[in-house]
C-alpha cells in the first residue's frame, strides 16, 4: 500500500510507455516521468 512505481502506456493516444507514481490505496497519481529516467524519490 502506498506510492508505487508503475509502467503505463497511452494505448489510445500517442502509444508512449511512461512511468507513473500511483498511490495504491487512493489511486492518486503523484506524477509521471519518462522511461529510462530515475523519477522522484519515494517515501520509504
Amino acid at each position: 500500500m502506498g506510492e508505487f512505481r508503475e509502467r503505463w502506456v497511452h494505448v489510445h493516444g500517442c502509444r508512449r510507455w511512461f512511468n507513473v507514481v500511483r498511490d495504491t490505496s487512493t489511486h492518486e497519481i503523484a506524477g509521471s516521468y519518462p522511461m529510462g529516467t530515475a523519477g522522484p524519490e519515494l517515501p520509504s
Partner: protein
Amino acid sequence: MKRLAERGRVDRSRALSFTFDGRSFSGFEGDTLASALLAEGERVVARSVYHGRPRGVFSAGRDEPSAYVQLGEGPRSEPLQQATRVELVAGIVARGLAGVGSLSDEPDTDRYDKLHAHCDVLVIGGGPAGSAAAWAAGRAGARTILLEDEAELGGHLLGVPPSAPDTAARAWLDDKIRELASFAETSVATRTVATGLYDGGTVYALETRKRPGDPASAHRIARRLWQIQAREIVLATGALERPIVFSGNDLPGVMLANAGRAYLNRYGVLCGQQAVVFTTNDSAYAGALELVEAGCRVACIVDTRDDPQGELVARAQAAGVDVRVGSAVAIAHGGSSVEAVDVGRLDGESATAPDLERQECDLLLVSGGWDPQAQLARHVGARVLARPTGGGFSVDVPPRRTALAGACNCTFALSSALLEGIGAGERAAAARGFSAPPEPAPEVDEPLAEAPRPVFFVAPPDGDLSRCYVDLHRDTTAADIKRAVGAGLTSIEHVKRYTSAGTGADQGRTAGVNVAAVTAELLGAPLSEVGLQNARPPTVPVAFAALAGRNRGEMYDPVRVTPIHEWHVEHGAVFEDVGQWKRPWYYPRGDEALDAAVLRECAAVRASVGMIDASTLGKIELRGPDVVEFLNRMYTNAFDTLAVGSCRYGLMCTLDGMVFDDGVVMRVDDERFIATTTTGGAAAVMDWCEEWLQTEWPELEVYVTSVTEQWATVALAGPAARNVLARATGIPLDNGSFPFMAIRDGAVAGIPARVCRVSFSGELAFEINVEGLSGLSLWEALWEAGQPDGIVPYGTESMHALRAEKGYVIVGQETDGTVTPLDLGMGWIVSRKKPQHFVGKRSLGRTDTNRPDRKQLVGLRPTDPSARLPEGAQLVLDPDQPVPMRMVGHVTSSYESAVLGSTFALALLESGSDRNGEIVYAPLVDGAIAAEVTSPVFYDPENERRDG
C-alpha cells in the same frame, strides 16, 4: 379542479394534452407528468411491484419511489420513468407500471452520443449552494462546469413561493445565475445528472437531450454520456426529505411534505382539500402555512417534538392550525387513497400509546427530516457517520480535491449554504490558481430552525408490521426487515440483499436511512453501529444504449475488408470473420457446400494454380540502424545472416517461452525490414515491439510502423504459378534468378510490386505485394493471366487444409499460449546457440519446457479414411477405460484431403514425438474414432514441389 388559478411557474396559456393509461388529460407547459396528473385529480398512478398496492405520487423529484410509468410505444419506448421527472410535452403517451417496465423487442432507433469534457472546477448540483459555487469559481476565471439534473437552476427554491422571507437572497442568486452565462470559461449543463464519481476526478454524467416521449424532438440525440475530467469538484447535491415508516404509509395521498409544497408553489396544484402534516422538524410548517393560504384546510400538524418553540410553529398556531406536540401518526387508513389517520401521543422513540384519535384527511404530508445526499462522495470510498442531530448520516471526510457545500454537507439554512457554496467555489478556483476580488454575500432573513426530533418508525398498536413500508419501490415492509433480523442477519448489507430494500431503480433514496433505522431498532443497536448501505454508481438508471453511444453494430466492432473485397463478393465468396476482417472462406460453385468446394479448390492448387487474397496478413515495417539487433532479440532465430533481397520465416515467443506469433520477415534494405504477422496477431505484435523498444531497449534506434493496410497481397500457388505470373511481369522468375525465399521488386501488371517466393501450401508460390489501392487491379490482372491455366480463387479453408497437409502450424490453432516451438517440432528455429538473448530464451531452458512428455505436435490418420475427427476432440490411449478417461491430447486441425484421398488431422499429444505408429482414440458421443499417429507432414516431405 385541483389546479389553482394563480400560483406556480407553469405557463397557463400553453395547454398540453397527453394520454395516461389510455385516457386523455391536459396540463401546462412547465408541468411534470406527476404534477399534471395531480392537477387532474389522478391519485393512483401505478401498482406496487409485489403487493399490487395502489400507489400515487410520493415526491416531486428523483427520489420518487412509486409513480413509475412507461413512456411512449414501439422501439423508442422508455421503461421505468419517474412521473415526477418527466417533463410534460404535448402528445406524450404514458401508462402506469405494475412494478417493472418492459423494453421493446425492436432495436432502439434513437441516437446516443458521448462527450469528453475537462475542467478546473466541476460543480455538481445547481441549487443555491452549487450555483453560488459555480459563480464564484467561474468569475475567478477557472474553467467551470455546472451540472444540474433538472431543466433549470435553483434547486429547492423552485418550490418555494416568491413571497418567502428570503426574497433578497433569491434575487441575488437569480442575478448570479444570469451572470454565469457571461463567463467565457463556464458552462452550465442542465438536464444532466452525475451518475458516478471515480478516482482521479473522473465523473460520468447523463444528459437527456430529447425529452423522453416527446414526438416533436424525435430527431435529436436522445441522451449523451459525459466523461468529465475535473481537477476540483464541488458537490452541492442537496438533501432529500426522509419519509416516516408507519402502517399505511404507502397510500396514495401520503406524500413528502416538501413535495406537497413544491406542487403548490411550482406547479400551482393543490394536492388535497383537507391535510394532516406529520413532522419531526420545522421545515414542514412553511408548506403547511402556504397550504392554508391557498385554501386547503390543514386539520392538524402532528409534531414529534414535545415543546416546539420555533417561529414557524408560532405562526401556524396563530393561523389557527391545531398543532399536536409529542405525537405521531400511527396508521393511515384508506382504499385507493388516504381517508383518515390515527394520531397518538408518542411513547418513546417509535411507539404510540394505545389511545389513538381518528382524523379524516385526503392528504398526509410527511417530514421525517432531511438526509444529505452525498452518494457521489461515497462512490470513491468516503465513509458516512451517524449525525449527532437530525437523524441519518453524513459524509465523514470528503474525497480528495472534493468539497461539499450546502445541504449535502448538512448546511441547511439558505444563507449558510450560499456562503459555503461561494467559499467552496473560490477555494476550488484558487487551488487551480484563479482568484477574483471578493464580493459581499447576500443577507438572508430566515427563521431560525429548531432542532428536530427524529422518528423513523412508528409501530401500530396491534404490532402488525406488514403495512409499514420501509421501501415503497421494492415493497419492503418492516415485517420483512424483522424476518431478516430474525434469520440472524445483522449487517445492513445482508439485510439489503435479503430483503432487496434499497436496490430499486430509485436507488433507495427514500428508503436507505429508514432501512438502517428499522434494522437498528429491531436489533436494539445504535444507528451508528448499523451504518448505511453502500452507494455505488450509477445514481440513476443509465440505458445500455447510452453507455454504448455510437459504438453499436459496425461501429462497435468495425468490419475490415481488403481492397479486393468487392471482387470476392461478386464471385460468390462465402466469408468468415478473422478478427475484424472479412476473409473469403470458400468460393462455392453453384450450390456446392464447404467440403466439396475445399476439395475442388485444393485439388486445383496442387494440380495447376490457385490465387488467394492475403492482404489481411499483418505487416510491420521496421527501420533503423539497430533493426537487425532488434529482430535477433524478438525472434527465436537469427536475422543478421539474412541478405538484402531475401526473406525468412520467424517465430516469436512470449517471456514464458510460449509461441506468440509467426510470419515471414523480408529484408528490403540494410536497415529496413518488413515483418508479416498472423492476421489476428498484427496489433499485438505491434504493441509487443513498441513495448520492448520503449521500456527495455530504449538504446536501440528502431522505428516500427504498421503498414498492413498500405499493402495489398495476392498469392499465386501451384505448379502453374510461374506461368501465370510470367504473363504479367518482366521479372525473371526461373529458380536460378528468383530462388525460394527471395524477394524481387518490379512491375506486375504495370503496377510497382514486391514479389516474394514464399509458400504456405508447399507448392511453387509467389506473393505479390502492391500498394493497397492497386490491389483490385492486380487481382484482376492475375485472374486474367491465369485463365489459360484454369486458375481458381481459393479461400481460407483451402489455405488451411493445404498448409495442414504440409504440417505448417497456425498460431492460435495449433498453439494456445502453452505450446513452445519445441512442442511444435520446430526446435530448428530456436537458435539456442545464438550468443545474444531473445525473448523467451531463458524459459525455453527450463526443465519443464524440456520435459519429454509434454504435448507435442503430431499428425493423425483416422484408420477409417472417411472418418473426420472433430477439431477440439480429446484424445485417449484406451477408449474402453472408465470415465473420467485420462486425456492425453486434443485435435487442433482436421480436414479432408483431396491429394491424400482421406481425412487427416493435426493434434497435440503427450510424448507425441515418441508415438509414431501408435493408435489413439477420440471418444465421441456416438463411438470412438481411432487414428494412427504420424508425422505432421503428410505431403511432399522432401519439399520437391516448392520449386515447381
